[in-house]
Symmetry: C2
Subunit: 186 residues, 2 copies
């Protein structure tokens, strides 16, 4: 049960955003820019970074929500999403994304864990300043979102079949206010 | 040296925000709402929560920046700021704020560390749903900001006398775009 009185019909972060629309708005804007830009990293790569960090933070709602979104952008290839969760080194992804996921995993532990060597290895695989910036900020942002969801014990749907339906909605409409104001797909 | 090519004349997160104004805007808006609202928690209490979490995350730039801001709002009482850093139980602050700092410290470790008992104890001291919400979100937001700063190895001014000057600027003008577009006070 959530630690504060929120709408029981809204899952996960959506209920928290409906409780506090003033803070929901900039958080939605940040997610929109970080996760739906196609400048540099693809949407699939951005959602895979979000999924991986959320998995490391053990946030069931977030890693399933963003894993389902990555799957949409990967045209239904859930095997890659699961490979990234379980240890991206064996995943069918680029070496550049592997080097960036290494950085994301360091950020999840704490910013100072990222070394010059980690960054140099990502550059060797073609990562730009913007790719490195966006990777660190996506990873950091999910250290916020995951803690917001679990720190307030937001409702976590356990029926995994509900996540793809909500992911389809976000893939179509983005991270705007509809995610906490509209009727939910499940 | 920062991991990416940013303006060397801007300290800490300011250089990162100048590098990426598109993401800086919603982050500044979130900070403005979370840290400068007087609805429920005071500005001093909000900045003390930010300072405490940044200290736990060992982010020198953030805990000194926000500690200096808390000091401004406490009319120069830096002793309280230092007491909160070193273990808030002996600090000259309300029992309500102590209970909320306990929750903030749990969020810093991970959202699931917050227990029903932690929340019940805060309520016993008069904390409302909004106070609990804002505490969790401030703590979570600084798990983002701290990782953004240290994950990209942003420049950290070591001269402690520079922090109060920048804090005075933020106390006057808020967390808007001036913090990364205007000439810096130091």
């Amino acid at each position: 049960m959530p630690h504060i009185n929120v709408d029981p019909n809204l899952p996960g972060i959506r209920a928290l955003m409906a409780f506090s629309p003033a803070t929901a708005e900039p958080m939605g804007q940040l997610a929109e820019i970080l996760l739906r830009s196609n400048d540099g990293l693809t949407r699939a790569e951005r959602e895979l970074i979000a999924t991986y960090v959320s998995y490391l933070n053990d946030c069931f709602y977030c890693h399933n929500s963003h894993g389902a979104l990555a799957c949409v952008y990967l045209n239904g290839d859930n095997a890659v999403v699961e490979q990234v969760r379980q240890g991206y080194n064996n995943a069918a992804i680029s070496d550049k994304l592997k080097a960036l996921l290494n950085i994301a995993g360091k950020v999840q532990k704490g910013g100072k864990h990222v070394t010059e060597d980690d960054v140099a290895k990502a550059r060797e695989q073609g990562a730009t300043d913007k790719d490195i910036h966006d990777t660190v900020l996506i990873a950091a942002a999910f250290c916020l979102f995951n803690r917001y969801v679990d720190g307030l014990a937001a409702t976590t749907p356990t029926d995994l079949s509900s996540y793809p339906l909500r992911a389809k909605q976000v893939a179509e409409k983005g991270y705007g206010s509809h995610i906490y104001t509209s009727p939910q797909p499940v």
